[in-house]
Amino acid sequence: MNPPDYEYLRKLLKDQSGLDLSADKQYLIESRLLPLSRKCGVPGIDDLVQKMKGGSTSIVAQVVEAMTTNETFFFRDKIPFEHFRDSIMPEMLKARAARRSIRIWCAAGSTGQEPYSLAMCLKEMGASLAGWRVDIIATDLSQEVLEKSKSGIYSQFEVQRGLPIQLLVKYFKQNGELWQISPDIRAMVQHRQLNLLHDFSQLGAFDVIFCRNVLIYFDQETKISIFGRLAKAMEPDGFLVLGAAETIVGLTDVFKPFPDKRGLYRPSGPRATTAQAAMAMPKIAAMAGR
């Protein structure tokens, strides 16, 4: 791939999705865009870029989607779900006893494995949640992956990565080589398209936010802005869960880590007012201590 095309794609992805590719990610572009160029009926990535430069918005949208969609699996990394079951939920059951409702946001819900893993965790808690309302909102940049998530249909390969066999038998219905998660688990998850670069204050306040393996793609400034806005979208005693390779340390102090629980964070300060939450992004980034 020639350097000008690589620069063109880098800039376009940065502007459209916040994806911040370093100079050495040619392999990533090739692995994602070669299948797409075949799908679009052109021989290679050069031709795809030509079409994008020629003003094909449909191809631009598909390129952004292909580059930002990530493979995921059920109960990815395991430990965050143990935190959810053993620390977050027991505390929330006490803290929300009067309200009897909990709002959870999967900020990079992708093809549904994460929100459905949380839904299965909640089902497994059984009677302790009787009479409670638990909302799981799954958002993603990509409409295509949201559609897959809504369908709850997974290949035999996908259901074998991370999903214990007992849960497969309990919560999925087999249809040939495909497996569909049960209607009552699907009903626990609401789906919305959302770009984390844009304002998300309309989603309301959450008790728990899973925002895993998405911020790694953003540059520092964008990360700080998103952390600032996540903090405002969260109850003061809420929990933020980040991916295994992600950290907030050294970026901003709007969240503080749990010393003994890797990837788990809690808002540091008093909660922002609605007026502040509605403010424009750059200003919030500035407030976040840059």
């Binding site: 990394d77 991370g162 214990p164 066999i165 038998v169 087999q174 295994a244």
Partner: protein, 129 residues
């Protein structure tokens, strides 16, 4: 070093499984049917058994029943690895004492995930990209 008994009537499958499991630091023994697998378990009880279902002489399901009644036979983690991918087969296997279940075809990621699931190997950090 942990030991794993690979039971499958296909030499090709045993070879693939051996390669994957050796990379995960298991010491491998092989058996081509349930009867030979039982003999291997009498000689030395493995930590793990990767078990095909359909085999001549004695199938994997029957082997599992015998294994779980042997002295020390409750100890190995048994992971089925079979083309039988129906819920009925999976449920029967679990009732008979299987710990996990792989539906063929399988690859390294699936074996790793399933062996993590039953605690045979430690969790590894997955790189996000």
């Amino acid at each position: 070093m942990k030991t794993c008994l690979v039971v499958d009537d296909s030499g090709v499958v045993r070879k693939i499984a051996r390669r994957i499991l050796e990379e995960m630091d298991f010491q491998i023994t092989e058996a081509e049917d349930g009867e030979k697998a039982l003999e291997a378990c009498k000689r030395a009880m493995p930590d793990a058994v990767l078990l095909d279902w359909n085999m001549p002489v004695m199938d994997g399901y029957e082997f599992l029943g015998h294994l779980r009644r042997m002295p020390g036979g409750d100890r190995p983690k048994v992971v089925f690895c079979t083309t039988e991918n129906g819920v009925d087969h999976i449920s029967r296997a679990l009732h008979a004492g299987a710990n996990e279940y792989i539906m063929k075809p399988f690859d390294k990621d699936i074996v790793t995930a399933k062996f993590q699931e039953v605690g045979l190997i430690e969790l590894t950090e997955q790189s996000p990209v």
